[in-house]
């Protein structure tokens, strides 16, 4: 019995499989300016919920900038700003728990999809998301006229009772892929960026193809500083966070 191979029970992702799209966030560069939050909300028709609701934990942003406190004055320190959005896990805990296949894994884009129109609102996925990045439409939020003029037609407007989350701006990915396909080529690095990465003034958010070893994001994700959130859970997230000082990185 040479080299016995232990069969994999949960078989569909393999160690080291990067996925197709990925993101790298340099926490040394992130200034916590919230431009990504605003950009995401503008791109994805995210509603605003008002003071009381947002204070009660019902803010709808798909992306939040976290920070914690350490120590006490005067030795107090704020942990680096950390934008947290859907990590597009390769082995996503949110997916198998949905009874109606409303959140599934795209085999093509290797992304974690939320199919709004399929969602019946059990909210199990949100419970099972270790990153707490899923938000639920607790109500139909009021967007008085003429604010709806701003709706992005590429993104479905969600109504009450539906779960939603960051999509890596899949509408932009599709558009870029469609464009590339019509020109008979592959999407090149830097051609597509989600709204957050596009807006980020510090260029802390880098987005691109993970399956292209030459892309900026896959180089960054292989950097020694790169860590994944809650890596120990084995969710295989596609967002890499670069910790510590950014000396010598990037050009």
């Amino acid at each position: 019995m040479a080299n016995p191979k232990i069969p994999e029970f949960k078989a569909d992702w393999k160690e080291g499989e990067e996925g197709r799209w990925g993101m790298a966030i340099d926490m040394d560069l992130c200034t916590g300016c919230q431009a990504c939050v605003a950009a995401c909300s503008m791109e994805n028709n995210v509603p605003f919920v008002g003071e009381e609701m947002s204070g009660y934990g019902r803010q709808m942003a798909w992306l939040r900038v976290e920070r914690l406190w350490e120590g006490e004055y005067p030795e107090v320190k704020m942990t680096p700003f950390q934008p947290v959005m859907c990590q597009q896990c390769g082995s996503a805990p949110c997916e198998p728990v949905c009874p109606v296949f409303a959140t599934v894994h795209s085999q093509v884009e290797q992304l974690n999809l939320q199919v709004y129109n399929r969602c019946v609102g059990t909210r199990y996925c949100a419970n099972n998301c270790p990153y707490v990045v899923r938000v639920f439409n607790w109500a139909d939020y009021d967007r008085p006229e003429p604010l709806p003029n701003q709706f992005n037609p590429d993104v479905t407007v969600r109504r009450r009772g539906v779960m939603e989350k960051c999509t890596f701006c899949i509408q932009r990915i599709h558009k870029a892929e469609d464009q590339a396909k019509s020109e008979g080529r592959e999407v090149v690095d830097g051609e597509v960026a989600p709204a957050c990465a596009q807006a980020c003034p510090a260029d802390a958010i880098v987005f691109g193809r993970m399956d292209d070893p030459e892309s900026r994001v896959s180089k960054l994700s292989k950097d020694g500083r790169a860590v994944h959130l809650l890596e120990e859970l084995g969710t295989n997230p596609r967002v890499a966070y670069l910790k510590g000082g950014s000396n010598g990185n990037l050009g």
């Binding site: 949960k10 996503a92 805990p93 728990v97 949905c98 296949f101 894994h105």
Partner: protein, 174 residues
């Protein structure tokens, strides 16, 4: 008067009823011609009658098989009809499938057991039947399918065995 009559003999207790059953056998009435009706479950053995045939267990078994099969369909066939991968798990996950198989087996088995009672007992049936309400007060009734010419003999035998009353059974709406 026809050549066949239905007689209804009502007994107050088990022992006289058992005697009556014996007496009937002595008179040459087959067990199949006698129907015992009671308000409380009494076993065939108490009256010395032969075991009643019931198909309920077969229905249950059949239901369990159908249930298992439908569980198999749900657990193994439907994921392949529209393959959707979730959470990096295999398309047909083994442990959850066991749950599906178990629940479907149990569900269909119990439903068919229930329906088995209905089918075996010919429920529901609202056609008039030979019955007296006293039965549900604890009486035991023997419903005899007796040849017309033996009516008097049987009536007498029943009364001797301790029947409260013996009369022609008339189908009534119950």
């Amino acid at each position: 008067m026809t050549d066949k009559n239905l007689l209804l003999a009502i007994f107050e207790d088990i022992d006289p009823a058992a005697h009556a059953v014996d007496a009937l056998r002595g008179l040459g009435i087959h067990d199949e011609q006698v129907t015992v009706i009671s308000g409380t479950p009494i076993t065939e053995a108490m009256l010395g009658r032969k075991h009643q045939w019931s198909n309920v267990t077969r229905f249950s078994l059949g239901g369990a098989i159908i249930g298992f099969a439908s569980g198999c369909f749900l657990a193994f066939a439907t994921p392949n009809m529209y393959p959707i991968i979730v959470g990096g798990q295999p398309l047909v996950p083994v442990p959850p499938s066991i749950v599906v198989l178990f629940e479907m087996t149990m569900l269909v088995m119990l439903i068919s057991t229930f329906l088995g009672v209905f089918l075996d007992s010919r429920y529901p049936s609202y056609t008039p039947k030979e019955y007296v309400p006293e039965i549900s007060d604890g009486r035991i009734a023997l419903l005899l399918d007796c040849p017309g010419d033996m009516e008097a003999t049987i009536t007498k035998a029943m009364t001797e065995a301790g029947a409260e009353s013996v009369k022609r059974a008339e189908a009534q709406v119950i």
